[in-house]
Amino acid sequence: MNEEELAAGMRAQRYFADEGLLTAVYLALTLGRPLLLEGEPGVGKTELAAVLARVLDRELLRLQCYEGLDAGQALYEWDYPKQLLHLRATEAGVGDVYREEFLLERPLLLSLRRPAVLLVDEVDRADSEFEAFLLEFLGDFQITIPELGTIRATEAPVVVLTSNRTRELHDALKRRCLYHWIPFPGAERERAIVRAHVPSIEADAADSLVRAVSGARRLDLLKRPGIAESVEWARGAAALAANGDPWPVALRRALGLLIKDEEDMALVNAHLDELIAP
């Protein structure tokens, strides 16, 4: 698959990547390296992995990170109850229970066994100790299980890591990945995204919506709306407009889908006339 085919495939899945992101994704596929994505919430980091899975026709394996995530939930775990039953039933030796059939495969190990796109979502939410579990996996696409030996990938998985930058990741982790920062999209691209996801919306309606969103992003908000929010807003406003509301009124009424904080709402309301032309 060359770069144009990749771009076309992602466009067909309604994902509009800019040149920088496309280059980073293509490099990750060509060099077989994990891709670390950072950016504000709601710019499509997680979505990229889902789209990539569909474009490449691979299974999407998702590992949502949280504080306290440990190796047993990310890599593998022994099926202890099953081992116990086996011990009692057969009175076998201890070494006998450390076999593949007693191994519970968690997402990281699973992604080595079959062609997959692995999404390690919000790495910054896991505590920094967890990053150490990832190192062997990301560096060589292998996992060492003391009782069994080293398990290598039959086919290198496509790995996407996302982070919201709430803390700095370890250098050792970053060194093993390609890196890309996803910014808010330009107006042209955001229009395309909104129209692709909400087909019922008119061209000039989408235009005024995108203008309002980029205007809102320039305000001093606590949480600036991402692409996910503008698509939701467009959907809500389109539903209201189908009910007979004129477009600017529909936009105003659906504002709760774009702005989700009371203080931000007050600020946006104060600037509403500049953002949404009546």
């Binding site: 920088g20 280059t23 490099l27 949280y66 022994w78 390609l178 320039r218």
Partner: protein, 365 residues
């Protein structure tokens, strides 16, 4: 371009990058060269994105990459490159500041310039006396008990618990030939909540800031997760300096970092800088937040009130320690304090190490 010239160009580019402060490790450089052979760049813009994906490890690194790249490959005219798309369009999504991540806008020690009485000088602190060391030792002893706790997400083996520790049960069963004799448990242990200390180092707090910084040093030493910021005219993250064990060494290291000591007060804007940064917000969420300040704000009090309200919503407990409140006749009637007092969990009088220790003991009960 001949092959040799191309190699020289790349070598020079990587060398300059290193000299400019972006030491790309060998593996990354190998990735970059590998990328060039696998994906021959179409144009300079494409080459830029190849370099960006392989050589940078953080969006901040682009600040170094951009000028060096421009120098070597674009004849110095590359300002439009790291734009999203359709550069030059009126309302594109990122207008420079927006394209940068939030924590780049308000980074540690990079607060906005003050509008008045901003100072830029080194603070000097006297050495800690023996008597003070004794109070600090008491603080160190009592602090861990005063920090509120929260249940850890990570279960550990315990006598009584809510989940069976199958792993330990299994291990025990080896000895008895697969017979399970008694269950083992795992439970979620209590752990300290994070502690966030915000210290006012402005002129009006001058005589107290020395003790407050000493107190903060003890907090960093005694608590599991603690972060400390100072603010006067701007916000400074000082936890790394306070990690030094030697207290006087740590304080003199602080003097190099805190450039706004004994200047004017801009509490509201400083707190807003703090809250505007996702990475800092994380330190306040569910934490014990201690603000050591007299709350004397110059100018507009609205940012201060808003910031304190937001902080109290984020924090587990928000304590405001003011030296003025040591006076039994003190009433929070200044415009700033009157607005704040409704949002803080406790307003207490702390003017030196001893009063701080008394507050800590009170909290521990």
């Amino acid at each position: 371009m001949s092959r040799d010239a191309g190699q020289d160009l790349l070598r020079g580019f990587l060398r300059d990058l290193r000299a400019a402060g972006l030491p790309a490790p060998v593996t990354r450089q190998r990735d970059f060269l590998h990328a060039l052979t696998e994906v021959p760049p179409r144009d300079v813009r494409h080459l830029y994105w190849l370099a960006s994906a392989t050589l940078t490890a953080s969006v901040v690194d682009r600040e170094v990459l951009d000028p060096v790249f421009a120098h070597w490959f674009a004849g110095g005219a590359l300002s439009v490159l790291p734009e999203t798309d359709t550069p030059g369009e009126e309302d594109r999504g990122g207008d420079g500041a927006e394209a940068a991540p939030p924590d780049q806008l308000a980074r540690e020690g990079a607060g906005r310039e003050a509008s008045w009485s901003a100072v830029d000088r080194e603070a000097t602190f006297a050495l800690t006396s023996t008597a003070e060391h004794q109070v600090l030792a008491r603080l160190r002893r009592d602090l861990p008990g005063a920090v509120p706790t929260i249940r850890s997400r990570r279960r550990t083996p315990a006598r009584r618990g809510d989940r069976i520790d199958v792993r330990r049960v299994h291990r025990d069963a080896w000895r008895t030939g697969g017979e399970v004799l008694r269950p083992r448990w795992r439970a979620r242990p209590q752990r300290q909540r994070p502690v966030l200390v915000l210290i006012d180092v402005s002129g009006s707090m001058k005589q107290h800031s020395r003790d407050h910084l000493r107190f903060a040093h003890t907090v960093v030493a005694a608590c599991d997760r603690a972060e400390v910021f100072t603010f006067g005219t701007r916000l400074t993250h000082v936890t790394p300096e306070l990690r030094r064990r030697d207290i006087d060494g740590a304080l003199s290291a602080l003097a190099d970092v805190v450039r706004d000591a004994d200047g004017g007060t801009r509490i509201g804007p400083s707190l807003r800088d703090f809250l505007g940064n996702a990475r800092h917000l994380r330190m306040a969420r569910g934490a014990l937040v201690l603000v050591l300040s007299d709350g004397l704000e110059r100018g507009d009090c609205v940012p201060l009130t808003k910031a304190v309200r937001r902080l109290s919503l984020l924090a587990h407990r928000l304590l405001w320690w003011s030296p003025l409140a040591c006076d039994p006749g003190y009433r929070p009637v200044t415009r700033g304090m009157a607005a704040i007092v409704g949002h803080v969990d406790d307003l207490a009088g702390v003017r030196d190490l001893h009063t701080a220790w008394q507050q800590v003991k009170k909290e521990a009960l």
